[in-house]
């Protein structure tokens, strides 16, 4: 049985260790044949088996009153009332995007959409979190340009609005960019499905696109091994996305679920049929028989193993009761999407593969899906700074600030920070995304810290945010990961949203290296502690390891996506203050230059972030949330990258009004230098603009709630003037805006 020996590569070439191979032989009680080995190599890859991370993930809190589906399903979901749930998940497509940014990013979006509609939720929003090298590198510009176009292409074509995201530019991502995409969907709770096969005798139906040689070996070769020079050989496996096909498939699947025609549904992602059939069988405690010759093929001469591991996009696997098959097929035809019954559910607990009736593979489902050995990490804290400060100094910005005579002049630093690509306006990118389709978008990109979508179905709205500053996590993996969670919650607070659940994507280097293992270990603890203290359950996520090249690991980058609810979308404050408004700084913000954007530009990065008290920040978050809901503030914005001065400038630009700010009270309170107060970073700072008459009342209310609030100035004129002790930044509003809007000229220097 099976193909002749030598037709597929040996276990080592497929990425399995000798001991893993021995374990497979033990479980099968014989040598695997080629088809079986290919299947094991993929399901036992890091990408599918989480062999270096599963133990850590156990630390994350997953329970909550509002949780409808937690980790283990295609997407997590939380209850939003009136019988509706919001489903969401973030996923990475880093390595495919480093090879071909447009298609890699596009298919990343396609994949996360499928995870969401696989549970019966209609996708209502996409967010994307991207990391590239510095923009003075041609490769970074090429990757950025392609990835943004690809994300836009897929989401725009399929009609799901892209409502938010983030882009950071840091040298450690130069060779290994990060492309994380998050999808949010809305479902009637009663119509949601789990991906568990059930009912021996039921049919396995493959829907959607035909199967080609796309991404063969992708999961093991592309997603779980370090990228090296000479990756060209891996290139023929590039997956091409077809959003038109997915749009039909999406509508078809939602109609089938709505009409109750499916027993269960699962997307095909990494490792294609092998993983979706294997995981469906495992979740249902059943077996599955498949005949690969019944799979509609794009290329007739495909081998059995190729069909089993192909990562052709836009496919879904469903379990269907035999009497329903005709209706399912007819519905697929109406949507002009493919469907083929390729097998059936069995009681045997085995995944058996046939090729035109001939058995070519037979493995116990549990061996394939559940028996992959899990490894303990061997963490070791690095001595000193693992990354090079020299490399972070690549940009023109860095040169102008870090090394010029003006290096100490706040009036020069502010525009330089605003022009730093990680801080600058990302309008160049988000205008390439349709942020409006669906008619739910109450706050679009740049209108508020979090996107706001209304849900008339449940008579409320949701706020959504995605965040994760890898540089700060590199400085201190525990504190940095805590900050990522706090930053998301802070963004939600600014629009009055209370967190319901969290998803995350852990983008790290090679976990077999002790220093990376340490980063991973500390970061997961940080996430877990922050989630516990904020009371936010983790409902899903994704892990992407081995993000490194010869130049070393990426910054450790846990990306956090959070969804919160708010009662009244008509009372959401924006970021634009009004002329004459008074400005207050609310919260326990204690600025520090450690890990800051300015420290980066000066080449001053090193280990360590100041200690912080999560509960104090949580109290400020809760206070700001209520303030936002009250409608009393004309604008709210939290302090993040580039510190107070940048946050203030962003508000001034949004409102088209100058600012006069005096930070001496902060200097006194924190005992920090003027420069640190202007440009230092840290969690727990909120800027609130409101009419002068309400300012005093707000300070009193904050004090009653145990939250600090300082009156720091007001909005008027055409200059941004911020002073703190000896330091003063004074910049014309239009100069600040020009700097902040300079990204297009950096992406396309020829223009």
């Amino acid at each position: 049985m099976g193909p002749p020996a030598g037709q597929v590569a040996t276990h080592r070439e497929l990425g399995l260790t000798d001991s893993e191979y021995e374990r497979i032989v033990e479980l099968l009680e014989r040598e695997p044949n080629g088809v079986e080995l290919a299947m094991f190599s993929l399901l036992w890859s890091e990408h599918c088996a989480y062999k270096h991370s599963r133990k850590l993930l156990g630390r994350l809190p997953t329970d909550g009153e509002r949780v409808v589906m937690g980790p283990g399903e295609n997407a997590g979901a939380v209850d939003v009332g009136n019988g509706y749930a919001v489903a969401f998940k973030v996923e990475s497509h880093n390595h495919p995007s480093a090879v071909e940014p447009f298609q890699g990013a596009a298919t990343g979006v396609g994949g996360i959409l499928r995870d969401v509609f696989a549970i019966g939720a209609r996708p209502i929003a996409i967010l994307d979190s991207l990391r590239f090298g510095e923009l003075d590198s041609e490769r970074s510009r090429y990757l950025l340009d392609g990835a943004v176009a690809g994300i836009g292409h897929y989401g725009n074509s399929i009609g799901v609005p892209n409502v938010g995201g983030e882009i950071y530019f840091e040298a450690p991502y130069e060779q290994n960019c990060l492309i994380n995409a998050m999808c949010v969907g809305l479902a009637r709770t009663s119509e949601m499905v789990r991906a568990a096969a059930a009912g021996p005798g039921n049919l396995i139906v493959l829907m959607g696109a035909s199967t080609g040689r796309d991404g063969i070996g992708g999961a093991s070769v592309l997603a779980s091994a370090e990228l090296e020079a000479g990756d060209d050989a891996k290139r023929p496996t590039v997956q091409i996305g077809d959003p038109f096909e997915e749009s039909k498939l999406l509508e078809c699947c939602l109609e089938l679920l709505n009409r109750g025609l499916l027993v269960s549904l699962q997307d095909l992602g990494a490792a294609g049929l092998t993983s979706s059939a294997g995981e469906m069988a495992s979740a249902g405690g059943v077996g599955i028989d498949l005949d690969v010759r019944k799979v509609p093929l794009r290329e007739a001469d495909m081998e059995a193993f190729e069909i089993m591991v192909s990562e052709s996009q836009e496919r879904m696997l469903a379990v269907v009761e035999p009497p329903r098959l005709d209706e399912v097929v007819a519905t697929c035809q109406r949507w002009q999407t493919g469907s083929a019954a390729i097998g059936e559910v069995t009681g045997g607990g085995h995944l058996r593969i046939f090729d035109a009736g001939e058995p070519v593979g037979d493995v116990p489902v549990s061996a394939l899906v559940d028996e992959c050995p899990l490894y303990d990490l061997e963490p070791a804290e690095p001595e000193g700074w693992m990354y090079s400060n020299e490399e972070t100094l690549g940009t023109q910005v860095a040169l102008s600030v870090g090394r010029s005579a003006d290096a100490g002049d706040p009036s020069a630093i502010l525009p330089a920070l605003l022009a730093s690509p990680s801080v600058a306006s990302k309008r160049w990118a988000f205008e390439q995304y349709d942020s409006l389709v669906g008619s739910r978008t109450v706050r679009r990109p740049e209108q508020a810290d979090a996107a706001v979508l209304m849900l008339p179905e449940s008579e409320r709205a949701i706020g959504i945010s995605i965040d994760g500053n890898g540089r700060r996590v590199a400085c201190d993996p525990y504190a940095g990961a805590v900050e990522a969670v706090l930053e998301c919650a802070a963004n939600l607070a600014c629009v009055g949203a209370e967190p319901l659940g969290l998803t995350n994507c852990l983008n790290f280097g090679n976990p077999e290296k002790p220093n990376v293992a340490w980063q991973l270990d500390r970061a997961v603890s940080g996430l877990a502690d922050a989630c516990r203290k904020l009371g936010v359950p983790v409902v899903g996520g994704n892990v992407s390891l081995y993000n490194e090249t010869g130049q070393g690991p990426i910054y450790p980058t846990p990306v956090v996506g959070m969804v919160g609810e708010l009662p009244d979308p008509s009372r959401v404050p924006g970021m634009a203050p009004r002329d004459g408004d008074e400005l207050l700084l609310v919260g326990p913000f204690a600025p520090s230059l450690a890990g800051s954007e300015l420290a980066k530009l000066r080449g001053d990065l090193g280990p360590g972030l100041p200690a912080l008290e999560i509960s104090e920040v949580a109290a400020a978050i809760a206070f700001v949330r209520e303030l936002a809901r009250s409608g009393a503030a004309s604008a709210i914005h939290d302090v993040s990258d580039g510190g107070l001065a940048c946050a203030l400038a962003e508000m001034a630009i949004a409102g088209g009004v100058g600012l006069g700010i005096e930070l001496d009270p902060l200097v006194e309170l924190r005992g920090a230098s003027g420069e640190t107060c202007l440009f230092g970073e840290g969690p727990g700072g909120f800027l609130v603009a409101l009419p002068e008459a309400s300012a005093l009342k707000l300070v009193e209310e904050a004090a009653e709630g145990g939250v600090g609030a300082l009156r720091i100035g007001s909005c008027d004129g055409e200059r941004i003037v911020i002073s703190a002790a000896e330091a003063e930044a004074s910049v014309a509003l239009e100069d600040a805006e020009r700097a902040w809007r300079s990204l297009p000229s950096r992406v396309d220097p020829g223009r």
Partner: protein
């Protein structure tokens, strides 16, 4: 009165267009294979990526059975509004002059723009007055309106340029800042910006609603 909103495989703004119509009248989706528009008083060909927008925006959709019915409906004087991809489809079908080419910047662009309305006879603009400014978003990859100069001259002199982008806001390189044109008798209007995404102040603007209410009130009065 009842709006019919066409639905092609790959359309994606049809639900929003339907919801916009439903704010002012009855409305239903019309599947691309339908050929009978009985009971429908006005047709919206919505935005999106019909048939993936492959080959050329709107090129494949124009051949759908429903579009044949729409052509007959338009010939009989029925009001037809093509939005974005719908505008492209109407041009491809020859119901409107010109073509929509890839944006000059070659990128997809989603942005709120200001439109100036210039008097026409279109039923879609009965509630607008010459010189009105409307805030309506654009979002498209191929929105650069093109027609030969003599056709443009003719459009202008016969009052068939219904909407132009406000000065300095032409997002795509459209000839003479044209954002929307009508056919000779005014019942067919093609518009690149998306009025169906501007029907509620909560999502940014309600200016687009006037197009739908124009037709609805006109037909209700008739």
């Amino acid at each position: 009165m009842t709006f019919g909103v066409l639905q092609f495989p790959g359309s994606c703004d049809e639900r929003d267009a339907l919801a916009a119509c439903e704010r002012v009248a009855e409305a239903r989706l019309v599947w691309h294979e339908e050929t009978d528009l009985a009971g429908i008083d006005a047709v919206v060909v919505p935005g999106g990526f019909s048939y993936g927008d492959y080959l050329r925006a709107g090129a494949i959709a124009r051949f759908s059975p429903a579009m044949e019915a729409v052509a007959a409906f338009a010939a009989g004087g029925g009001p037809v509004l093509g939005i974005c991809n719908g505008f492209q489809v109407l041009c491809e079908a020859g119901l409107l002059p010109g073509a929509l080419l890839p944006n000059e910047e070659l990128r997809f662009l989603c942005r709120q723009v200001e439109l100036g309305y210039e008097g026409t006879d279109s039923p879609w603009a009965s509630e607008l007055s010459d010189g009105d400014a409307l805030s309506i978003p654009v979002k498209h990859m191929s929105g650069r309106y093109f027609a030969p100069d003599d056709v443009l001259d003719e459009l202008e002199s016969s009052g068939r340029v219904a909407f132009r982008y406000a000065e300095g806001q032409n997002p795509n390189g459209s000839a003479r800042d044209i954002a929307g044109v009508t056919n000779e008798s005014g019942n067919v209007l093609g518009l690149m910006p998306h009025p169906e995404h501007a029907v509620d102040p909560l999502t940014g603007s309600a200016d687009g609603l006037k197009l739908f209410s124009s037709v609805a009130s006109l037909l209700a009065a008739a």
